[in-house]
Amino acid sequence: MRMNPFLKSLALLLAIYLLCPPFTWGQTDYRFQEDDLLKEMDKAAPAPPEQKGQEKVPQAPAKQPTVLSKLVDDFHGSLRLRGVHYWQNPPEREGADTRNDFGSALFKFSDKISYKNFALNVGGWVEYGNEENTYSGTSFNEFWQDMDRRRRILDVSDLYLNYSRDSFNFLVGKKTLTNGMSTLYLPSDRMRPQDLNDPMDVKDLNIWQARMDYDVAEATTLTAAFLPVYQPQKTPSETSRWMGEKKQGDSTEFDLYDAGNANMREDIPQGDANFGYFARFKKKGFHGWDLFASFYHGPNPFYVIREEQVPGPTPGSTQPQRIKEVVTVDDYAAGFSTTYESWEFHGEVVYNFSYDRKDDDYFNYVGGFTYTFDDFAKKLWLEKIEFTAEYANEIITRVQNAANFVSSSKKSRLGRNDILSRINFEYNNKLSFQFVCNFLVDQIDYGRFQRLEAKYKLRDGLISKLAGEFFGGQNDSTYGRWQKNDRIILEFEYSF
């Protein structure tokens, strides 16, 4: 018998509650003498090198740092060990990976070298785990455009040169390009391809760019970027439990996770069609408001389907061939964030215009708030409770209507009549809880997702996380597809 997700959440919360007291409340009360603490601070490490661009205060001459010592000082990273257990067997699917226990190790790194106003940054990861058809290759294959569906074992996701002056920052290389001011769902954050092999534990793939951020006035920034390489999202393998149930003969509608009918190939843009152009105006702290407006022209992050007749198995016959195609769009976006008393309000809207009607034209919007409980939290012996809720939807102004195009990106798009919420309970700087609850309220797609997480800081830089994730809804909805993927996750991450 399946246990109700809510009861599972409560059971998990109880388990965490019982687990945590030894760490938090059961220890002896040792009161430090202030003098001892001050002496301990006196013994602290010597002062770091002075900040760039500042006058030096006269002091004993310091040893000049070498390139190597700078590289060592600026080398930072983290090691994450992660174990996942699924309660149920995966959905029925040809060739499905039927195991329920998975583990992975992820090492992230970053480093940089600076000279005057230039800084060369590099960052990436090394990861491996026992998930089938998930890991392969390194950044050295397909250096500019990663066409492999699988996650790279070694990836250099950040590689960029920064040239900065007081009024501008010029960047060339590979880095994340974020957009938007919303909190949980950002409709305008579309230049951010991700690795969705585990859709609940995504990684930014980052994009090649030449970008200028120019401060035209106080807190007013103009951004212009040229994005020369389209980077497609990565999706789970056909045998992954994230692809949902698919019995023989099933005909499902195409979406981000399902190719629908077989005989599908991808058509990734080449040459000029790869190019994207981005511009943004951003003003912060304008009478208590943060505002932005942006424009993007380039490849759409969501596929559409084109159908062609190709020669069939017998002479003279033809058969349909479906092609996942990336079409060119214009995205016009605007958004805000402001605060009033205990509330933070935010909203965003993006208008997607598709050339030659190869995809739908639509508005996608989100509105929401964050409410911070303080006095009430104290009554519950908590330091902070923060509640965020958002509603997202879209309005299609013109449906797809182009010859041979048979399916729009509609089913792949997020934020279509969705409620998203998150509540953070912070007990202290070591222990916190988070509950995430998302609903797709559309009657057809009705789906839901809940995540309950406890985070405990074991020591400086070492974090442990215990989380439960629960999915429900109709088989072909985003979350309903994963209804057999309820799972418990345990993570340890050490950062340095």
Binding site: T28, M41, D42, A44, S78, L171, K282, Y371, R459
Partner: protein, 270 residues
């Protein structure tokens, strides 16, 4: 003594006491003088920070603080955590605003975006320290009434200091609503006008925490700063100790240091 003589004596005493009162400063004047004496155009401080909880476990952090006066009594602040690794890059930006609520933004590296912070959130402790977001904002003297409670000798670091004991109370209903404190009591040393100790009382007037400042040193002209501070949170049995490793005042700090571009481009970690 004749009746006339008594009236004369009383009259002289009255005039004398009145002249003494007029020579004394009010609480507001002490605070204004303190602000004037110790204010700087810009300031950058590299600090070690240690958090000590009631079980005795300690967490060490490295912090850089930037401050700049951009208009008359109008400041911008930036606090950046350099270590430990799990919070490296976290940054809090504050823009002081006259006649309005200050703007505050928090940058969390994992999110790669900055989030505006609501006013009520300012009563909350910042990143597990014993300083609230409110404590990290500049003190607007117009928002408080300052009363000198008494003058007394205060023993601190093995010396007795002659101090004003000043009570700070929220001056208006708006401030009363948004502040986490019913009052603060400060021990301000009379010669250099440095704050040696501050007691914070929560909204129920319960003594919540005490900040002690140690090893004041001259950083520029008449400007003094403590090298070390301890915020002792009595409510949580938790302490935050800070020790300044280096400090520069009145140096060239660009306005762009206090923008989101500075943080999003990673310059706050250079």
């Amino acid at each position: 003594m004749t009746k006339k003589t008594i009236i004369w004596v009383i009259g002289i005493l009255f005039l004398f006491s009145a002249s003494v009162v007029s020579a004394q400063m009010t609480g507001r004047q002490v605070m204004e003088k303190q602000k004037e004496r110790h204010k700087v155009k810009t300031e950058i401080g590299n600090e070690d920070m240690m958090l000590v909880d009631k079980s005795g476990s300690k967490e060490n952090r490295q912090v850089v603080r930037y401050a700049k006066e951009v208009g008359k009594d109008l400041h911008r602040y930036l606090v950046v955590f350099l270590s430990p690794g799990d919070i490296r890059g976290t940054a809090l930006r504050t823009w002081e605003k006259k006649g309005g609520d200050n703007d505050q933004w928090l940058y969390l590296p994992a999110k790669k975006t900055e989030q505006r912070i609501a006013k009520a959130g300012k009563k909350n402790y910042f990143m597990g320290t014993d300083f609230t977001y409110e404590d990290m904002e500049p003190e607007d003297l117009d928002n408080f009434n300052y009363n000198i409670l008494r003058s007394e000798q205060f023993n601190h670091e093995g010396k007795a200091y002659d101090c004003y004991v000043i009570e700070a109370l929220p001056a208006n209903d708006k401030k009363k609503q948004e502040t986490g404190y019913a009052k603060r009591i400060m021990w301000i040393e009379k010669v250099n006008l440095t704050t040696l100790k501050t007691d914070f009382y929560d909204r129920r007037e319960k003594h919540q925490k005490t900040q002690l400042n140690y090893k004041y040193e001259t950083v520029s002209g008449s400007v003094m700063r403590p090298k070390q501070t301890i915020m002792n949170n009595l409510e949580k049995s938790h302490k935050t100790v800070t020790s300044t490793k280096s400090r520069q005042v009145n140096t060239n700090v660009s306005d762009s240091t206090f923008t989101d571009t500075f943080i999003l481009s990673g310059k706050h970690l250079e």
